[in-house]
Symmetry: C2
């Protein structure tokens, strides 16, 4: 399995997810600005992976600061962090990772700047390691919801490529396979960026897990034919009441699952919870370029002069969510209580 | 406006809908077999347009028969019709048009074969003319359901290109505009064949009707934001109970419309009703090549070795259908009675 992201010798190396599966190219970032650009252009994507990349980016940013006293160092670091924080608005893991890195600096004022830079590098690597362990724990909880012979529908890519490894929704898939369950995956292609077609099928094929590709508008057809047993997706941000922001089309999947009495599960680490927001209405939805809708494989699909909309995420209201799977356990309604309990658990 | 299909001097000329909007090329069919191939390969598509093409194809087929006595002529015609009837399974207008043409031959046994060939050509042209008039009448009924300022969502292309002209669902749009209503259209791109992106936006742009393109998985987002007032789609076959077979994804749109209390209308001529079928369960669903899902603009979107499903249609159950708009009026539940009444109306 190719690593989503690595941090060696002052270089943050990411596999270029805009070019998979046709080309396996890597992007090397040597500055925090380059990491910000990689996040913005979706070289790396997926809320947990964005968090890991951001932490590594902050470490690169720290290394580039010349100030030798804490005050000057920290001020410059904050400015760099603010700019990085603006690269994408919806996934809360970006802000979460940046805050965690800033806290490390702030809580270690007594160290020399050289020691602090080393401490920040260590923290970024800890976030990477923790993310994989988190996903494995999430997978263990999640696989208890999966039965032998199940067909699992997923949307977008919430896999190893969306995290430091193992995946959130696909972590549940992998843990189910590891537990000896025979399962199959239906992957929504996930327009416009085709993460499902390009990334999810690729990951699962590499792992030898049976996967079939469908267009997003086919998932209702297969649910209605009772050929899907459960849905598992990831999340970019989850409000205190359990409303879930995730890749555009997730709401569609959830409504279709409800209509067909199919459980709809969200797998996400506690770092994706934003308990400061009462509901999904407060989650900012990124509007991306209409060119990403209009152009496929460098060729326009619609006539010149036609406009397209491109909201990159949507909100699935909590009443459509059967359960939220975290590394600390499984939350069910009422989510305001269950999510708070899991978030406070060590 | 470019004509979808024409029949002049032994040539059935169609605009090649697989190449729009990038290229405006025409395909000339000189035999019934060539017409069958054009239908199968979706050079021409849309239930009413398939009906018109089939009628013209039967006329070409008749012209090619050398038998001079009725018996030999009719036997050969039947064989040709049977093969043509197998080109696509879901749209009932194909069988409807072929049956109508065969009936014309059968009911005019007394004519010479030469006169019969001429009578069949005339019938094919009548079907074309009638189709446009039918769509205009349908539009008149349908526009009474549309209010000034409405935003209409449509799926696939049920426009001039799916018919001999004016369109079914887009006929309702055009009639609303002609009635002085300010309306806007949101067009689902309609994967995998992208009829919405390629054909619907093109048609509406040519007519100066405001249209915005979205991916199929975005329509729920806009419904939930209350930015869509009504849905109008076409149909490929409608069973006696009002279950509707239409382009894959229509079921998804209908479920989302119900969840958001948005009216879901189907616009289709009486020739699309198949009252011989009690419910949608009996409608055959065409499974097309997975290559049409896997490949966009001649480039593969998924890794080699991954499989895709490709049901080309789905069934929307009658309880999700607000009303069915025909040229004879508007049918509402219970559809078994209302559709029968409209079908029998002259």
């Amino acid at each position: 399995m190719i690593k989503t992201i690595e941090y060696i010798d002052g270089v943050v190396r990411m596999i270029d997810q805009t070019r998979l599966p046709a080309e396996k190219e890597f992007v090397d970032c040597r500055t925090i600005e380059e990491v910000g650009h990689a996040i913005k252009s979706m070289v790396i994507r997926g809320a947990p992976a964005i968090g890991v990349a951001a932490a590594m980016g902050v470490s690169l940013g720290a290394d580039s600061i010349e100030a030798s006293a804490f005050e000057g160092f920290y001020q410059e670091l904050e400015e760099k962090c603010d700019r990085l924080g603006q690269s994408r608005p919806t996934a809360v893991n970006l802000a979460w990772a940046i805050k965690r890195m800033k806290n490390v600096a702030h809580n270690n004022k007594s160290l020399s700047v050289i020691e602090l830079k080393s401490r920040l590098k260590e923290e970024a690597l800890t976030i990477l390691t923790e993310d994989i362990a988190t996903n494995e724990a999430m997978g263990q909880h999640g696989q208890t919801l999966v039965e032998d012979g199940n067909v699992i529908l997923t949307h977008c890519n919430a896999g190893a490529l969306a995290t430091a490894g193992f995946g959130t929704a696909l972590g549940v898939v992998r843990a189910s396979v590891n537990a000896g369950k025979n399962i199959r995956v239906l992957a929504n292609e996930t327009r416009p960026f085709l993460q499902g077609a390009r990334l999810t099928t690729w990951e699962l094929k590499e792992d030898g897990i049976p996967v079939k590709l469908i267009t997003d508008n086919m998932c209702g057809f297969f649910m209605n034919k009772q050929e899907i047993d459960l849905v598992v997706v990831g999340a970019d941000r989850i409000a205190a009441n359990g409303d879930v922001a995730n890749k555009i089309g997730t709401y569609m999947v959830a409504v279709l699952a409800k209509e067909n009495n199919i459980p709809f599960y969200v797998a996400a680490p506690v770092s994706t919870l934003d308990l400061s927001l009462a509901s999904g209405k407060e989650i900012p939805i990124e509007e991306r370029s209409s060119e990403e809708v209009m152009t496929i494989n460098n060729k326009r699909i619609a006539p010149e002069g036609v406009e397209a909309a491109h909201p990159a995420f949507d909100i699935t209201p909590n009443h459509l969510v059967t359960a939220i799977i975290t590394e600390n356990g499984i939350a069910r309604a009422p989510f305001t209580e269950s999510l708070k309990a899991l978030a406070n658990q060590k």
